[in-house]
Symmetry: C2
Subunit: 265 residues, 2 copies
C-alpha cells in the first residue's frame, strides 16, 4: 500500500511551492557578506544565515498545511508526525559551494512515505532551474517549461563520467581504495558538485555519482529524481539510499554492477 497517486501530485506541487518560497530567504545572502559559523571545528561545514532562514520558512509552511506530517531538516532536526509522510529538508546542500560563490549548491526537498522516498525536488534559484521527480517522472523546470529527464548510460565503466563531492570524504582505507580504482577505471572524474551531480545522472549527463558519508537529507530527496529517470541508487552495500551513508547512483544496472566490483579486491 503506497500513497495515493493523486495525493502525491498535490504534494509534489506543494514541494515545488516550498522551493519557490525558500528562495527569498536564500538569494539575498548569496555572494554577500554572510555570517559563517563552523558547526564542526575539524571539518569545514559552514551554516549560513540563509540555511537557517530557508528551513524556518519551509517548516512553517509545512506545519500550516500539513500539521500531522513529520519533518526532518538539516538545521533543526526531527519533528515527529502522526501521518505516514515525512518531509526531508536540506535548505542549502553544498554550503561550501555557496560560501565560495559557486553556483552548484541547491535546496533539497524530499517526501518519504513510511520511510521510503516518494518525491523529491532539487532547486537552484540562482541558476533558475528546478529538478524534480515522482512516480509520474523526472523533470527539469526552467523558464516555465518542464523537460523530461532520462538517463543516458555509457556502455561500460571505462567510458563513464563519474562524479564525487570530495576525495577527502573517503576516509577509510577501503573507501580511499575504491575511489582510486574508480579514478583509474572511469573515463573521467569530477569533484565538488554535491547534490547537483545526482540530478545530472538523471539528466543523462553523468554516468555515476559517488559519495562517502552522506546524511539522509543529502540523498533521500534525490532518490525519486534518479529512479524516475531510469537510474539506480543505493548504498555501496546495496541497501536503500534513504538513510545516507556511502552512496552510489548509476545511469544503468550494468554500470552499477561494474562499479561495485571495484569495492572487492
Amino acid at each position: 500500500m503506497g500513497p495515493d497517486p493523486r495525493e502525491l501530485e498535490g504534494l509534489l506541487a506543494f514541494a515545488l511551492h516550498l522551493a519557490e518560497q525558500s528562495e527569498p530567504a536564500i538569494l539575498p545572502h548569496f555572494r554577500a557578506a554572510t555570517a559563517v559559523t563552523n558547526k564542526l571545528e575539524v571539518d569545514f561545514d559552514p551554516v549560513t544565515v540563509a540555511d537557517t532562514a530557508a528551513e524556518t520558512v519551509m517548516r512553517q509552511l509545512i506545519g500550516q498545511r500539513f500539521p500531522d506530517h513529520g519533518i526532518y531538516g538539516e538545521e533543526f532536526g526531527i519533528k515527529e508526525g502522526t501521518s505516514p509522510y515525512t518531509w526531508i529538508l536540506d535548505p542549502i546542500d553544498g554550503t561550501r559551494s555557496f560560501i565560495f560563490g559557486s553556483v552548484v549548491w541547491t535546496t533539497l526537498i524530499g517526501l518519504n512515505y513510511e520511510g521510503t522516498p516518494v518525491l523529491g525536488v532539487m532547486n537552484q534559484p540562482y541558476v533558475r532551474e528546478t529538478f524534480f521527480g515522482s512516480p509520474a517522472g523526472a523533470f527539469c523546470r526552467r523558464d516555465g517549461a518542464d523537460r523530461r529527464l532520462s538517463v543516458r548510460p555509457a556502455k561500460q565503466l571505462s567510458e563513464a563520467l563519474v562524479t564525487t563531492t570530495a576525495p577527502s570524504l573517503y576516509k577509510s582505507p577501503q573507501e580511499a581504495a575504491f575511489l582510486e580504482r574508480m579514478k583509474a577505471t572511469a573515463r573521467n572524474i569530477r569533484y565538488d558538485g554535491d547534490a547537483y551531480f545526482y540530478s545530472l545522472v538523471a539528466a543523462g549527463q553523468v554516468d555515476i555519482a559517488l559519495d562517502a558519508g552522506l546524511q539522509s537529507y543529502d540523498i533521500a530527496p534525490l532518490v525519486p529524481i534518479i529512479e524516475a529517470a531510469g537510474g539506480i541508487v543505493s548504498t555501496w552495500s546495496r541497501e536503500p539510499a534513504t538513510h545516507g551513508g556511502n552512496i552510489i547512483a548509476a545511469a544503468s544496472k550494468d554500470l552499477y554492477e561494474e562499479a561495485l566490483t571495484l569495492l572487492e579486491d
Copy 2:
C-alpha cells in the same frame, strides 16, 4: 603609451556583444547529445560542436569590424594582425564541466594591447551572468544590472578560501608539493571551477585561485577582471600571467606573498 580610454570603452562594448552573439552557437548544445572528440588521447580535453561554432561566430564578427586586429583562439589558433590589438578567445573554458552538464564553464573573451591584457569578459550564458573588467572597473552583469566587483581578502592564508581546477594538473614534484602545502595551510580548497574561480576572486568570494599549466587563452581574459577588482595575478615566478603557465591570483598582496612562500621548502 597605452590605448585610448574612450576607444577601450567601445572595444569593451564590442567584447560584450561578441559574448552575446556566441550564445546561440553554444546553448543548444549544452546538456544535449554533442559530438565529443578527444584532442589528446591521454588527457580528457573534449572539444564540442559548440566550442568550434562559437569561435567561428566571434572570429567572423571581429574580422568584419576590426579586420586589422589579431586573433588568438583556442580552437583555430593565431591570425596575425597589423594593429596593436589582439583578441584572445576561449569559447568554452571548462569543457569538462560542459560535458558533465555542470554550469561552471564559461566563454572567455580578452583583448591585449601590445601583448598586455586591457579588457576581459567572462560570460556564463546558462546561468545568465557576465563578468567583465577594464581600466574602468570590474563588474558582474545580470538581469540588465551591473554590480561593481571588489576583492574581499582574508587576513591570512590560514583563513583563505582557495580554488584550483584539478589536483591532476600538478604534475611535477614541486607543483604537487605546492598544492599539498596549500591544502594543509588554507582554510578550505575547492576543485573544478576553471575560469569561474578567477572571477570569484574578483567578486570577493574566493581568496586565492591557483592553476598549473594554463594556456594564454585560459587566463589572459581574466587578468583585467581580477586587477580592476583590486586583485593580483601572475605566474608562480611573478611573471605576467598573459602567456599562461602556472598561475596564482590573490585577493591581496599579503595573501599572494604568503602563498608564494609555500613554493620554497
